[in-house]
Amino acid sequence: MDARESPARSVLEAPDIARALTRIAHEIVERAKGADDVVLLGIPTRGVFLGRRLAAKLRDITGHPVPVGSLDITMYRDDLRLRPARALAPTDIPGDGIDGRLVVLVDDVLFSGRTIRAALDALGDIGRPRAVQLAVLVDRGHRELPIRADYVGKNIPTSLRETVKVLLTEEDGRDGVLLGVREHTPAGER
């Protein structure tokens, strides 16, 4: 995420991540009473991989496949004008759409809540879900909007100077969550 970081401390290892995702999958099945109408939408980049992993676990638990896709929120961000235009990531909505379904948004880190706000706006342009829930691997606090997660892998209290970096095999070659300290805090950026 940031260029200069001091040596990071590992807070979650691969088995911890696997256990957290298994627990979240069970919680989704419990709350959705079988997960029959669940659609998982991961937020790029790492939310997509977490979404796919959750979908695999849900299939193992319920015995039926759970639709999984990705939802790029770049065009809905509120900080677009603070940085040069960014490249878009794919948005991939499962074939049956999201109308009347229970959409579970999946992201790696919940921080200010602005990403999720953008995701809710994006969802509204795609369809009308029955309900929207949020699953995150790490909740690091410091919300700037009235948004909370329904399923949390691990709560990690942080200071604003700290950085939370989720590593996933699909993108980074290994699983893990690293807590680092940012050496400089550029104004207006995260």
Partner: protein
């Protein structure tokens, strides 16, 4: 990417691939129930058209509206230009109205460049065709169609360029801004371009273009992955460039028998408007190998991508305006 899009040579390979990839994602917006993104809310895009156009103007308008920008259409006909207003005074008027981007089509080559470098306006300038010079967004949408058809795969070949593909551009190269932009852009993307035309319809200095030149269509057809037919621009012709239209059509027109000599996978492109019976027969124009309609639909996505990448993020000229625009919501 630069702050303006005046020429296809403004784009590096990475810029061009980024535009095509962005366009590929934005193309999906057309399949959604709500074909709109909030990204350019509060931005004003002016379509400044000094020359007639159907496809380009409509497609820029649709692109800007799908990104929620405010669109002001300006055509020289019925405006103060017909009373003798200069480009400068028109530009100052637009600047006073707060245009963030000006999409300009002009009958004089270089008008967009003048607009962008004169300091008359602070917004970004997009060239939508100037005289016989350039038409970069047309080249981008041609590259978009080429990549979808020839590279293909998931996401229409996202991330890929056109390296090794052979594209032949046939017809009125002399008057064609589409040809010039395409030669530069497709070469940047790694394609091998050949232009084919009667010697009278080739511009002076074509030997310095990064492409092959041929006078013989049949010789290059068999080894082309795509053939792009250009319209013979009668309105720009002030001399006899070829003996008769019939002779032109026979030597440089694309008809069914010629199309049959092209490789199986090769496509026929046409930027429009077509002169059926002249450079292309109805048989070819209506065949599934002709991508003219596909090129138009790709045009909206490509222009959305260009407007998003120029206007969507922070740009140097914007810092001066941040205060009056306020922080994003």
């Amino acid at each position: 990417m630069k702050h303006h899009l005046i020429s296809a040579t403004d784009l590096t390979r990475d810029d061009a691939v980024l535009i095509l990839d962005t366009a590929e994602e934005l193309a999906r917006v057309a399949d959604r129930p709500i074909k709109k993104l909030p990204t350019l809310r509060g931005r004003t895009v002016v379509n400044l058209f000094f020359e007639d156009s159907t496809r380009t103007r409509i497609s820029f308008e649709a692109a800007a509206k799908r990104l929620s920008a405010d669109v002001i259409n300006f055509s020289a006909k019925g405006s103060s230009v017909s009373k003798g207003e200069s480009l400068k005074d028109t530009a100052l008027t637009l600047e006073a109205m707060g245009a963030d981007a000006v999409v300009i089509r002009h009958h004089d080559s270089g008008a967009p460049h003048r607009l962008a470098t004169s300091g008359w306006i602070g917004g970004c300038v997009v060239n939508a065709g100037d005289g016989t010079h350039e038409h970069p967004t047309q080249a981008l949408l041609d590259a978009f169609t080429l990549r979808r058809r020839l590279v293909g795969g998931r996401n229409g070949g996202a991330g890929a360029d056109l390296s090794g593909r052979r594209v032949t551009i046939v017809g009125d190269i002399l008057h064609s801004r589409v040809a010039r932009s395409n030669v530069h852009l497709l070469t940047t993307l790694g394609a091998e371009v050949t232009v084919v035309a009667p010697p009278t319809l080739l511009p002076i200095g074509v030997s310095h273009w990064p492409c092959e030149v041929s006078y013989d269509l049949d010789a290059v057809l068999a080894k082309s992955d795509a053939v792009m037919m250009l319209r013979v621009q009668r309105e720009r012709m002030n001399a006899a460039y070829f003996p008769t239209e019939r002779e032109y059509a026979r030597r440089y027109g694309l008809h069914g028998a010629r199309m049959a000599r092209m490789p199986e996978h090769a496509i026929v492109m046409h930027p429009g408007p077509m002169n059926r019976g002249m450079e292309i027969t109805a048989e070819v124009a209506d065949s599934p190998r002709c991508t003219a309609v596909e090129q138009v639909s790709g045009g909206v996505s490509v222009r959305m991508a260009v407007l998003y990448l120029l206007l969507g993020g922070a740009w140097p000229a914007d810092t001066a305006r941040t205060d009056e625009n306020g922080q994003p919501a």
